[in-house]
Symmetry: C2
DNA sequence: TGCACAATTGAGCAAGTGCTCAACAAGCTA
DNA sequence: TAGCTTGTTGAGCACTTGCTCAATTGTGCA
């Protein structure tokens, strides 16, 4: 197998392991075992587990953002919010948010991950801001401070993801969807001046 | 030293270690080393590290909630939001949110922690709901759906805590404070019907 | 065919993990 | 004083962690 292909395969296996066991409990041997290769192979391609971990998070978090970005690009303005919230809650257990929540948490102690999360956060912020801008441009509401609104919606989703992914009875994916939709409504007709 | 006192001391030491190293990296030996006692002592008081960990999180998270609850109890209605946001951002680096973010994240894989987080989340939700209710009762705004508003504000704060605690330049504590204050304004004069 | 270089192996190391357990110390009761 | 309970010790076990490295395999070029 070629070097580049193997590299990609390792990143993918690492991603799956992290999704299963969580960032902090995933181990190098989990990855090699899943690929059915020797434990040493991993370090032939990646100098350290930390770097592979960050690379795996980067690859798949950015892929998710590109996915929703592409989806929104072919969506009419009046359907943007519905499209966005549907995508957000595509898994009823919010399982695809696990990696992201893990990454935000671990980034506080891992500089490699911090860089990844910071970049992703910027992209995420842009996606939300562009939804608001397109809706305003289409004459469907006004928004006095798009930046602030985008920050609020982004943070709201992260927070909701934490509760829903908890799997408790308190809040399910559908309710979270509703709450985010209402937030868009609040932001798109509000008259609150920026601080 | 009496058993009960020693127990409390261990919980406190565990809390400090967790605050330093994070939930997933903190170890039993860190706790005993910090107390300058033998590694075995810990298991004389707690059957497992997981249970001590959950107990430490429970103790200090509930203490935080009682703190803000007590603070709000002696606050006039028109100052409630300011009091709340000041308390929320009492540390400019949001360091006191680290344990809470850690706990939410780890709770997905740790049933003991899940129970703690669920309870705390309920209390947290009540604190926010009561702020809204008291402001409405004082004639300072209306809120068509207090439950939904409280969920949104709670999740918003968790999400913002994640960004701010990241320590990046993107968003600081003061900005987070402003965003939460604006959210209260949005919720307290909005006319969005519940889903 | 032979050589070179890459990919791959797997034993193994040093460090760290939670936890056990026989032994010891200290204080209280009988 | 003797005995018992309780707090405390620390060596040690079985296991996992990331990572190393000499040895081996395999593939493509000369």
């Amino acid at each position: 197998m070629s070097g580049a292909e193997r590299r990609r395969q390792i990143i993918h296996a690492a991603y799956e392991v992290i999704l299963d066991k969580g960032l902090s409990e995933a181990a190098t041997r989990d990855v090699t075992r899943r690929m059915d290769v020797s434990p040493g192979l991993l370090h032939h391609y990646f100098p350290s587990w930390g770097q592979l971990r960050a690379e795996a998070v980067r690859t798949f978090v950015m892929a998710e953002i590109e996915e929703i970005d592409g989806l929104l690009a072919t969506t009419e303005a009046y359907e943007l919010v519905a499209c966005f919230t549907d995508w957000m809650a595509k898994d009823p257990a919010f399982r695809h948010w696990g990696l992201w929540l893990d990454a935000i948490d671990a980034a506080r102690r891992d500089p490699d991950l911090a860089a990844v999360v910071t970049t992703a956060y910027g992209a995420w912020h842009s996606v939300i801001a562009s939804i608001i801008e397109r809706r305003v441009a289409a004459g469907r509401g006004s928004c006095p401070n798009v930046e602030a609104a985008a920050w609020r919606i982004g943070a709201l989703i992260d927070g909701l993801a934490g509760v829903v992914a908890l799997g408790d009875v308190a809040l399910d994916a559908e309710q979270a969807k509703g709450l985010v939709r209402q937030q868009f409504d609040l932001e798109l007709c509000a008259d609150v001046s920026a601080a």
